[in-house]
Symmetry: C2
Subunit: 306 residues, 2 copies
């Protein structure tokens, strides 16, 4: 997201648009444009009740993350970094009418929370993509900033995802459509990942790497934790699984990246996933960092993006 700040980069971007043409956010749904009204139910927004182009037409960067508080903190942080004139108090939750998600806007940056897990982020992404489409946004970059469990790397390391894989280490997202299973690609934007990785080198004491991210449907049994309410496998089986994941190129585990990569890819959004690791799963299962360390770690993806 560094490219919005320096003037030179901004003008490069508009040059490119002039020649190459704008890349609009597109929906892949023939029914949508014939609808009289589109109610984005979980965002508490709609095409008849809100002037979406006026509210969101200038959005160029969208940051999403699980926790509402973290997304608010990110919006305030970006507001400061961008040096915008608007008062900080004016950055209000745009989705205040619902408690499903939170949304904050500062200049061209939109920050939205998505809750935990594939279904939760998928509802938000459907409605966000429709929102950006209705608002006629173009050349939008979207980055998920999150927390994760690392495999074989020091806690605090930031992992930039090259490709999201499922529990079987396969680079795919299986979407159930009616009662069929459709497999979708989970590749992320290579150029954007490398750009972010290069930025990380400029920040001192900021361990960062590019690797595969495994996305699971469950935090406990699905990630091989021995500390859930249910656990039917041995410590050895757990370690064997995590080591096989490491061998397949997996460096961290979270719960949203496959569907995020699949949906953004299909709808023309340049997408990246940047997660800090809170523990090394080869060492432990419980997150027991002191509060201040946890807070500092959670700020790392935000710092990199800004």
């Amino acid at each position: 997201m560094a490219s919005v700040i320096p003037v030179s980069n901004s003008s490069m971007r508009s040059d490119r648009n002039t020649y190459v043409g704008k890349r609009f956010v597109h929906v892949k749904n023939p029914y949508l444009d014939s609808m009289d009204e589109d109610i984005l139910y979980h965002l508490d927004l709609g095409t008849k009740t809100h002037n979406l182009p006026a509210m969101f037409g200038d959005v160029k960067f969208v940051c999403v993350g699980g926790s509402p508080n973290r997304m608010k903190a990110f919006a305030l942080f970006m507001h400061k970094e961008l040096g915008l004139e608007e008062a900080e108090e004016d950055i209000k939750d745009i989705c205040a009418g619902t408690d499903r998600y939170c949304m904050y806007k500062t200049g061209p940056v939109l920050a939205i929370s998505h809750g935990m897990g594939i279904p939760s982020i998928s509802i938000m992404l459907h409605e966000l993509i429709k929102l950006l489409h209705h608002a006629r946004c173009c050349d939008v970059t979207i980055i998920r900033i999150g927390t994760s469990g690392g495999i074989g790397i020091a806690p605090g390391t930031v992992v930039i995802t090259d490709i999201a894989v499922d529990s079987f280490f396969k680079p795919r997202f299986e979407q159930i459509i009616l009662d069929n299973i459709v497999t979708r690609s989970t590749e992320l934007d290579k150029e954007l990942s490398e750009e972010l990785f290069n930025c990380s080198k400029e920040i001192p004491n900021f361990p960062t790497l590019i690797g595969h991210t495994m996305c699971t449907y469950d935090f406990y049994e699905g990630q091989g934790r021995l500390d859930g309410a249910l656990c039917s496998f041995s410590r050895e089986k757990k370690l064997d699984y995590l080591k096989r994941a490491y061998k397949a190129g997996v460096r961290n585990i979270e719960m949203e990246s496959t569907v995020f990569a699949a949906m953004c890819g299909l709808c023309g959004l340049k997408a990246a996933v940047v997660c800090v690791t809170l523990l090394d799963r080869l060492d432990c299962d419980q997150i027991n960092l002191p509060h201040d360390v946890l807070v500092e770690y959670q700020q790392r993806p935000q710092l990199l993006i800004s």
Copy 2:
């Protein structure tokens, strides 16, 4: 949940306990009791930082629902219904240290939000079940109160789930454990469902039925909606799918019931799912009820439980 209110029922319950033995909440994890400390990370509670038996030992009823605001409203409503002496202002979010879930307690009733989708409710359930285990709770009843889309029934109808089925209308929950798929039963407590159904008959203008509930991983493509950012099927295919669901006994669709039934069943919690339907999916996809009707509908499961 009516059984806590009349004194006679309470004493019947303790009688039964004396003779039949208490049914403790059990975890199925041989590693748990050997842990020096258990941090319930997403609830911001722990065995070393909190006296869980003192805080939660008297819990007999747990109500869970997606929305934090709705769960707070439910706790306040129950507080009033139970006629407890404690001031309403003292009912505070026990998980205030995290923004992942909200939790409120009033007398023997615990109300917790679980966000949207199977992964989100599954994290909460793992930590809730461990919490009830650490607190040495027994004879706990748990009810999910939620919103859903109906099939072939009038909006506003309350559906009490007899069995939760997946997108293929099968009564199962497929849990990925490491890289194996384990199939679990999704049956709910029959006696409790019937007790709730009988209560519904005593409330005037309260359309209620017992039926199958379909649980999907996605709100749009997975539920056959024509109004998502992605839609690759026709209106005919959608209707064919929903009609087949109806024929298989499905009366409503939501996103949490299979894993809820599976986990509660395994851990000895008497469980029920009670959801109001906000629309009939054979008629439409968008939720466009006036705000006050929506609010009244959402209160129906709460009213029934109380």
